[in-house]
Symmetry: C2
């Protein structure tokens, strides 16, 4: 007899199926165009199952926005400036194929409908990048006078704009996004980093995790 | 007897009323939520009058996106780097009150629905900023090795992201947008401009035209 799947694992798996289905629906239809019915149908689950895991559509959308950074965590121990760069590259390459990141990118323009300002996506990403840049500053890769919080906000704003414009230029594939992210850093780095640190930086798809389709809970 | 308004002037005035009404409707409802009926109603005009001026909703939306730069033209003869800065400040302060700019900001996320890539808003703004930065380079305010096209794209991307995030933070008022635009330049300028040129730059609402509600056709 096959071993029964433990209840908790089954529940986690159902939740993951719901999030994936919701991401596809939000990516296609936006927040306003999505409904709990569409999401449950896409997941092949009942409305009851959806409501067991999420209070409403807003709660699913919040979860998707909150999950974004878990898909953009460098795994190879990159530190400081390379870590900041890697976070943006993993996100940019991930956006080419990961429905949760695509949904998050679309929902960012509509987040006022389901998130308070205190938890919005911009603040979430800016805090993560400011951490990496602060560490880069303590490693003397970033110059001491630089306002890392302001740079983090600029990088998040420019990345948000870049994904919108990549969408306008090349459609849902957003194929030129990674190039625009590298271009952003090339323009910005001379203002903040020391030349030797800039020289050491690596760009390109090699910096993005090959398994960027799976979230990192580490 | 009062002089009759010439036909051409009347027609231009009707067109302006339609654009203003359409801007309000797009700003409130987005591209998908707007309709020619809503726009004609808001303008207090018939559908026939709307169709005399515009082929369809897409054509009105394209006109609004195309008009954006006419609201962000420095008038006091600012040149070079100050001109590039002024364009972004006039736009940022204008967005606090001008329905056509608010509509354009909202439509930028949906422009794939009514504009081809070759005329999208990103390219339009990037070309205008690249011109100003190229002139700044020829005036030796911007260093010769700097890729002004790339910087222009970065500034447009960051401004787009800043307005989205200002909306998420402070709602339709977007009251912190001008601050974010100045912050962007403060972070970026050391990478591209010579120190004396940075020192001469002016920021603040004084750089935005007081009459930024009216387009410039000059």
């Amino acid at each position: 007899m096959a071993k029964r799947e433990p209840k908790q694992e089954r529940s986690q798996r159902t939740r993951a199926v719901l999030v994936q289905a919701a991401a596809e629906v939000f990516a296609e239809a936006g927040f306003a165009g999505a409904s709990v019915n569409k999401i449950a149908n896409r997941a092949g689950l009942t409305l009851g199952a959806l409501y067991f895991h999420f209070e409403n559509k807003e709660a699913v959308a919040r979860e998707i926005v909150r999950m974004q950074p878990s898909f953009a965590t460098p795994v190879d121990g990159a530190e400081g400036l390379q870590r900041a760069v890697d976070i943006t590259l993993i996100w940019a390459y991930g956006l080419l194929r990961n429905p949760v990141l695509v949904a998050g990118a679309r929902l960012v323009a509509e987040q006022g409908d389901f998130m308070g300002p205190e938890e919005n996506s911009h603040r979430q990403w800016a805090a993560i990048l400011a951490d990496a840049l602060r560490s880069a500053q303590s490693r003397r890769e970033v110059r001491s006078g630089v306002d890392v919080e302001a740079v983090a906000r600029l990088v998040v704003n420019a990345s948000t704009g870049a994904q919108l414009h990549a969408f306008a230029e090349s459609g849902p594939g957003r194929s030129d996004l990674p190039f625009r992210i590298e271009e952003m850093w090339r323009c910005l780095l001379p203002a903040l980093a020391v030349p030797s640190a800039i020289k050491r930086l690596e760009f390109g798809e090699g910096r993005a995790r090959p398994d960027a389709d799976a979230p990192m809970h580490a």
